[in-house]
């Protein structure tokens, strides 16, 4: 039986985590994600889990690292400055190939910024973020339902590839309420983690490390990681396509903005303008091939983001020469209206002689 309940996005993530069998949460207060720790502080103990409020985000992420090393399914959540403080720990997790979920309910920056919605952390999330040569798996929900579903998905991918996974959302997705279909809770059986550090009785001690000093050892490790990232790119890219069959122009947008773009598309259809949309659901791996293939047929692409042009670079890398590429961005907490987006699209189409 599927239960439908009205939920706040942040709570949907927390519920998704519990449904996925996550029993460990370590975090530190920061707006606009506080609903997640608050909810889990009362709900995790009820299911035999552990909630710890750490003394900082540096502590939180390293508690995540520790619990993950011991084989637990574990998460943290934060925003802006807090996610920046976690970058060192995330680099260690990537280097020692430890799974774990990090939720970033983005706030504006740089610096202390503010709590308004934004997509300004795209680069940080998708290009590694900390030091070293690595990637996080990054999922970008666009509805409260997806906050729930992708929380579960993120844990699965994270364990599958032994790699940190991030949910990248913002205050609109975190704070708004929508109906969510909750799958009936099943007993989650987590796959064994034979690499975990859980005592070495009856077997040889094993190690998790990020320090490689012998000649060529680090290079070999990095190449192994690269092979993993390539496999993730090959197998895990997710996107939603809309109206791609008969459109004159394709918008690429993720998360909150994609919802606004959908309204702009409806408005345009009434005026006889056919707009399609590709919404990346995974930001790493980036769904490059669908964008490349679509652009071959419809060589006009408009990227819309709540920043000054970050995913834009990945779109540029996905397409070939001869594709007209436009961009409309609102940074620093600005939220584009459907009218603004439609106007920008019309300007681009006019330039193209449509």
């Amino acid at each position: 039986m599927v239960e439908r309940v009205l939920l706040k996005g942040n709570i949907a993530i927390a519920k998704g985590a519990i449904a996925a069998g996550c029993r460990y949460y370590f975090g530190y207060p920061i707006t606009p994600q506080n609903d997640i720790p608050e909810y889990l502080s009362s709900e995790l103990p009820k299911v035999g889990g552990t909630f710890i409020q750490a003394e900082s985000e540096v502590a939180s992420i390293n508690m995540v690292l520790g619990a993950s090393a011991a084989g637990a399914r574990v998460m943290t959540s934060s925003s802006g400055p807090g996610i920046s403080l976690m970058q060192e720990g995330m680099s260690y997790m990537a280097g020692s190939e430890l799974p774990g979920l990090i939720v970033n309910v983005m706030r504006v920056g740089p610096g202390l910024g503010g709590i308004a919605p934004t997509q300004g952390d795209y680069f940080q999330a998708t290009k590694g973020g900390g030091h070293g040569d690595y990637f996080n798996i990054v999922l970008a929900p666009a509805s409260v339902q997806e906050m729930y579903d992708l929380a579960i998905k993120a844990f699965e991918l994270s364990d599958k590839y032994r790699n940190p996974a991030m949910i990248l959302c913002d205050a609109i997705l975190g704070q708004m309420k929508e109906p969510v279909a909750l799958e009936e809770a099943e007993e989650v059986t987590l796959e064994a983690k034979p690499w975990a550090l859980d005592g070495s009785k009856g077997r040889k001690p094993q190690f998790l490390k990020t320090l490689y000093l012998s000649d060529g050892e680090q290079e070999a490790h990095n190449l192994e990681l690269k092979e993993k990232y390539d496999r993730i790119r090959e197998e895990e890219a997710l996107f939603e396509g809309k109206g791609l069959g008969d459109c004159e122009i394709v918008v690429v947008a993720f998360g909150t903005v994609s919802r606004i773009v959908k309204t702009a598309i409806q408005m345009a259809r009434k005026e006889g303008i056919k707009i399609g949309m590709i919404r990346p659901i995974t930001l790493f791996p980036f769904p490059a091939s669908i964008i490349r293939e679509t652009a071959k047929k419809i060589p006009r692409i408009m990227v819309v983001e709540m920043n000054t042009g970050q995913m834009l670079e990945d779109v540029k890398l996905s397409i070939e020469n001869g594709v007209k590429l436009g961009f409309y961005g609102r940074p620093g907490g600005g939220i584009p209206t459907p009218e603004e987006i439609l106007k920008e699209i019309k300007v681009m189409l006019d330039e193209e002689g449509f």
Partner: protein, 291 residues
């Protein structure tokens, strides 16, 4: 009734604090003493909102917003910057909440204190992360409700004894103060201003929003904190010399707890337990003070 407090105001009306905010009174009393030759350093906290929306500010002295964990580091840097320009007159005031002091900023604070950086560090203590919606900090008292210590399992560890920790750095001056006793508070700020090195002031700043108490009762609550021995007023010079500044009236701790909704769930046993803890800590302090 006469007051020893200076009357020049450096906080303007229209600040963005909740009604009855103790932290605003703390800043007001401090700036009254420090005056216009002051640079204020504020890490993420209620006060990063209270001073207003840029470019406006409710504080009539220069003010710098820093990352959560860095007030003491940035204050060290500003002091060095002033020194190198020959400015020995300006006071650098780091003004941080309990989260930024007891928790995330403690490393920076301890480092600065060990180096004996020349600034005044004020912790305005409202005993939780109030700006983010009342999450527990290591300044949250035993037994209190917060949004991350729900009533089913309230905080089960005592508040960190921050003043003793800071005094243990052997800094020249560390003192507690309360917004309920502005004369004592002002005298301590004046004393701190005249001393070279790291001065640490721990100021009890009730938060009606987070403590679930009436805005009209914060002064009463702050007085009761002193006279129930929950928050004694004392100072420590050079790490070892303890002076108790006000003799508590020995009021039962229940009188203090009952004015705050965050303690409403406590049983008679819990209250007796808190009374025992408070008495023990007071005895501990008395021994240090006699020493």
């Amino acid at each position: 009734m006469s007051s020893t407090m200076p009357m020049q105001e450096y906080i303007s009306p229209g600040h963005m604090a909740c009604p009855g905010c103790g932290a605003v009174l703390a800043m007001r009393y401090i700036l009254n003493v420090l005056g216009e030759k002051t640079v204020v350093v504020i890490p993420a906290s209620c006060w990063s909102v209270i001073d207003g929306v840029f470019p406006y500010s409710a504080v009539r002295v220069p003010l710098f917003h820093t990352a959560f964990e860095t007030a003491a580091s940035v204050a060290s840097g500003i002091k060095a910057g002033l020194d190198i320009q020959g400015d020995t007159e300006t006071t650098v005031l780091a003004f941080a909440g309990d989260g930024a002091t007891f928790d995330i900023g403690f490393q920076a604070l301890s480092g600065a204190a060990e180096r004996n950086e020349d600034f005044i560090y004020v912790c305005y203590d409202n005993e939780a992360y109030m700006n983010t919606g009342v999450q527990r900090s290591s300044a949250t008292p035993y037994g209190a409700w917060t949004t991350t210590t729900p009533v089913r399992h309230p905080k089960d560890r005592p508040k960190k004894r921050i003043l003793e920790i800071m005094a243990a750095h052997e800094i020249p001056y560390a003192a507690t103060a309360s917004i309920a006793y502005p004369d004592d508070l002002s005298a301590k700020v004046k004393k701190a201003k005249g001393i070279y090195g790291t001065k640490f002031l721990h100021i009890f700043s009730p938060c009606p929003t987070g403590w679930k108490s009436k805005s009209s009762q914060i002064i009463k609550i702050a007085r009761l904190a002193v006279h129930t021995k929950v928050f004694p007023l004392y100072e420590v010079e050079n790490g070892f010399t303890f002076h108790i500044n006000m003799e508590p009236k020995n009021i039962p701790v229940r009188e203090y707890l009952k004015l705050q909704g965050r303690f409403a769930h406590l049983s008679e046993e819990d209250i007796a337990d808190i009374q025992r803890q408070v008495d023990e800590e007071w005895e501990h302090l008395l021994k240090r003070a006699l020493y």
